[in-house]
Subunit: 340 residues, 2 copies
């Protein structure tokens, strides 16, 4: 594969300096007409690629926005991206997407790479926790706008768009209580992310405020996947007094639990109610359909894009930091509809 | 939001030319030590961002690879992307992803944008058809390597990695014949893409070579979505002689058909067999599980990345064009297992 022709190749070919080639290509009046024509002809002959990036370096604007997510194939994240695109594409921005696979080193490299690629902004759902946030700090101090969505870090001067995870979890747990459930378990993803801590808190407070105890054995720490949910349900059902409901902080792990429960002589929702979190499409199509907390991903993406645009459009001296918290919406389906 | 500091800002501040600033930043020996130090100090004070892209302009290498897909949230495409990342990330490349939403104008803009952003290569599943391929030609003539995967165009000098769609469709149809199905219908996505034409051809030839007739009413042109599949199944079942099997060129449209058939007094697979194409994860989890043709997406992604690396590593004067066709694998599940 042939290497790209650079101004240095043209300079070498013509035995002049790269600076002269650069000036000639940029119509600098200090360059004679003859030299300019010679450079342009040679550039054309050597298939020199006119480079808008060079112009971007000059204007400081590339019209590219980097969106960084843990996984592109989760419906939540792909829907956020759709929201971002819906908002930014009509305004002439290109959205380039990178996935971190929840690998923190990789996330840092991706951010560096996007900064090096001169993106105009980075919208990111981070896999870092507040405990390790100092590792991201050097990148965040650059002048390129950062906006956190869904998974944020506590930096006072960085904008974020999240949903009210506490409220969503509170509503889900309260709903189970209202359905008559007495022993409500919780699947808690213990990867240190703030959003899972907030969901745990919402669960606990809903119990306490309704006069229920928080039973430590009913809170199962796990990974966000189906296998972990299956295992967790097994652990719960082998307790001396098993629970009669699960509020899971993720739909994926709840899917595993439902598959496990369906192998037992237990009827959902008559004997056991479940509510998940994320409102993944499969929750609607399953039998029984699964109640879940909706995170309004398209709206979240649109909002993150709007916050970015606001920062771009503001006066040079004005710094805007915005914390937007969207409401979480409990979607009630068969899996928790004990009372008709 | 503050504008990025450029060499032009530094030049203005110091009342020298941008060329001098550039030379000083690049340690050009023609610049005096004093001037160099002054420029470096000023650059630091003005928060000038050291720019690896500027170096990329010089070396002609950005270590970024653009991957362009119709949709990031289809399991097939996100799996191809995983394969590409698995192969390229350990070699120091960053994969940046863009989705076209099957909008051709947008696809062209994305390609231009990636070329402007100096990516080292573009791996693309195009939404253009061979009839319109001339519109992409100017972009493909650049020196940046292009590799088509899955959805390709017929350019003799552009590499591609595809699966054997003809063979996959032939095998699926032959399997339905072997199961005793007599009237096999076909869902044909009529958006002009070569791969769907090849699947149609495989279907037709399997019928003809087994002594069956091709019945035009049994070939339903449709869009690749669930609603279209539902509608198509309704059309088929209202024919005077309805079919007893469907080979669908997509799983999504087959999902709609299965949902429609399940509303009728018809048992799958005893009365009616179905086979899809893509092996989307839901085909495995549905009841009954759905037979489908697997496209080995991770392998396809890895192969596309390997073809790219081969082109990058080859001598300047050597041009490599490779057409890789991976085998399609029929995965037989309950939906077409009439004979146990």
């Amino acid at each position: 594969m042939s290497k790209k022709t650079t101004i240095y190749d043209i300079a070498k070919e013509l035995q002049i300096t790269a600076a002269t080639v650069s000036r000639a290509l940029n119509n600098n009046p200090r360059i004679s007409k003859n030299t300019r024509e010679l450079v342009l002809e040679t550039a054309a002959r050597m298939n020199y690629k006119q480079n808008r990036l060079a112009l971007a370096l000059k204007s400081g604007k590339s019209n590219n926005i980097g969106v960084v997510v843990p996984y592109i194939n989760r419906n939540f994240f792909s829907s956020v991206i759709r929201g971002v695109e819906d908002e930014l594409y009509p305004k002439g921005y290109h959205v380039i997407i990178s996935q971190t696979h929840e690998d923190k080193d990789r996330e840092l490299k991706i951010i560096q790479n996007l900064l090096n690629a001169q993106v105009d902004g980075i919208l990111i759902s981070t896999s870092y926790t507040n405990e390790e946030k100092n590792k991201l700090e050097p990148a965040l101090k650059k002048s390129t706008p950062f906006i956190f969505f869904d998974r944020k870090l506590d930096f006072p001067d960085i904008s974020s768009v999240t949903i009210d995870d506490y409220q969503g979890a509170y509503d889900a747990t309260k709903h189970l209580i209202d359905q008559g459930c007495k022993r409500i378990a919780h699947f808690y993803v213990n990867n240190g992310l703030e959003l899972y801590k907030n969901r745990l808190l919402g669960y606990k407070n809903a119990l306490l405020q309704s006069g229920f105890e928080v039973v430590p054995e009913y809170i199962i720490p796990l990974k966000n996947d189906m296998e972990a949910g299956m295992e967790a349900a097994k652990t719960l059902m082998n307790l001396p007094v098993p629970p009669d409901a699960i509020f899971s902080s993720t739909d994926n792990s709840l899917l595993g639990a439902v598959k496990y429960l369906q192998g037992l002589p237990i009827h959902i929702p008559d004997d056991f109610c479940v509510v998940g979190f994320s409102n993944e499409p499969f929750t609607e199509f399953m039998e029984p359909s699964i109640s879940s907390v909706d995170q309004s991903p398209v709206e979240m993406g649109r909002m993150a894009a709007k916050v970015f645009l606001e920062q771009m459009d503001s006066e040079q001296s004005v710094k805007i930091h915005k914390k937007v918290i969207l409401p979480a919406k409990l979607v009630i389906r068969k899996s928790s509809s004990k009372i008709q």
